[in-house]
């Protein structure tokens, strides 16, 4: 259950965060701020999912040993 709450993190960061970063400057790594924020949230999604995948007991089950 708690893992699902973790899944909310990227959603909140992107949707609730965007109103606060909606101006062109400062440029981050050359990107306008909202685009940099969106890119950051994409990476955050992958990172969050990796943590969830590691913590989720379902993935430690037998299935394939890869």
């Amino acid at each position: 259950m708690s893992l699902k709450w973790l899944g909310l993190l990227p959603w909140l960061a992107l949707l609730a965060g965007m109103p606060f970063v909606n101006r062109v400057e400062p440029f981050v790594f050359g990107l306008p701020l909202p685009l940099a924020w969106a890119t950051g949230c994409t990476i955050l999604s992958a990172a969050t999912l990796l943590v969830i995948y590691r913590l989720d007991p379902a993935n430690r089950a037998r299935q394939d040993p890869a």
């Binding site: 699902k4 899944g7 990227p10 959603w11 992107l14 949707l15 965007m18 109103p19 909606n22 101006r23 062109v24 400057e25 440029f27 790594f29 050359g30 990107l31 306008p32 701020l33 909202p34 685009l35 969106a38 890119t39 949230c41 994409t42 990476i43 999604s45 992958a46 969050t48 999912l49 990796l50 969830i52 995948y53 989720d56 379902a58 993935n59 299935q63 394939d64």
Partner: protein
Amino acid sequence: MNIATILIAVTMIGALAMALRGSRGRASGLESWSVGGRSFGSVLVFLLMAGEIYTTFTFLGASGYAYGKGAASYYILCYFPLAYVVSYWLLPAVWRFARANALVSQASFFAAKYDSRALGLLVTCVGIIALVPYLVLQLKGLGIIVSTSSYGVLSPTFGMIVGASVIALFVAVSGVHGPASIALIKDVMILLVVAFLGLYLPYRIAGGIGPMFAALDKAHPHSLAFAARGQSVAWFDSTVALTACGFFMWPHSFASIYTARDEKTLRRNAVVAPLYGLLLLFALFVGFAALLRVPGLTGKDIDLALFKVALAELPPVVVGLIGAAGVLTALVPGAMMLMAASTTLARDIYPLARGAASDREVAIAAKAFVPVVAAVALYFALTGGDTIVALLLMGYALVTQLFPALMVSLAPRRVFTASGAFAGICVGVAIVMVTTITKTGVATVAPGLPGWMLDLNIGVVALGANVLTALAVSLATGVVPARGAARVPAQ
């Protein structure tokens, strides 16, 4: 005939040959044709599902939208990772139920969950209606690719007709094995092409990505952040939420869940997928670079941005390679969509007209529907005037209406009754259809609302009405079954 045209022709023929080879020696039953006998491992399932982001939509649509709409195009980068966060829990649950009940189509999933054939039929219809604009945009992309990379020798109309025929043939001969056999080549090609263009063009034109955005900010002030009204942050948030929820609701994406070998495959994909989506960033760079180099395209011509800038900056051989990659990005997803539409027509609609049909007969009917659906899409592609992204957003607004009924059907206790789900979907779809056809938005219907509400994507408004209706009708039709009763066995 120039070198670019030859490269594109060779690609089409090569893809067909590979499809034929991939399908040889396979059992010809419907389950093998449509969901690959449920035997695909991580990489293939991943490529088939993530195929969505590497369609002509990415290639031409995303770059065109960045060119024409500026900041609004950022949404394209965002919905994909959020959809995969949901997928981590959603897809294994769907897969488990589908396997236990030997389901092959999205409609049969709803029909089995709610024990209602009527609902299954409705889902079929929504899926097919939503798929049409999606297929249309693939064909439009093919038309653009063929005509621009042949330097105008071949017309867009010719490109669309050839493209539709190749896709139909491709599906008819090979089923899901055809797209699967070239999915990897297609993704590698498109990855290389888009990454190359997205890095090279900004350097070539402006001296780097940072300088490019700085120059754009001077030339087009305010285009790199969201507008205060119109395509504002409220539009962005509602559009991202809508498309993220709708991502797996397409009949073809839903069916590609079924091709997975096990649940772990689906969870592992969810982790990697968001990074895969970062490629879209490069597609946006291409569009922004094009805006500096070849300004002046408006209306539906913004979809030409990628090719116009490539023609201006690159030699014909490279343009041909870009065209070849573009052809594959339309072919693979186009084939998946066409197959999903035909399978569902044959399985869920055809038996109604025919009475009880044998499995063999349904499998034959599925193949017979392929050219019919292709012809309908071709008709709209030749007559319509929307941009690629506008078409996709319309499809998304429709298909996302299935999301609430799906989510609550997975809950341990039943929330919607079959009639509730049915009514909700009808209301949602009706709102989207009416507003699309009459070209109205929230602002026209209820101008008194606060500003940010006027900017909401109409699909989200329809979704709200959908859920409220479903709840109301479910309460009215009463008899909410006791706990655990939601696990309806398949007939």
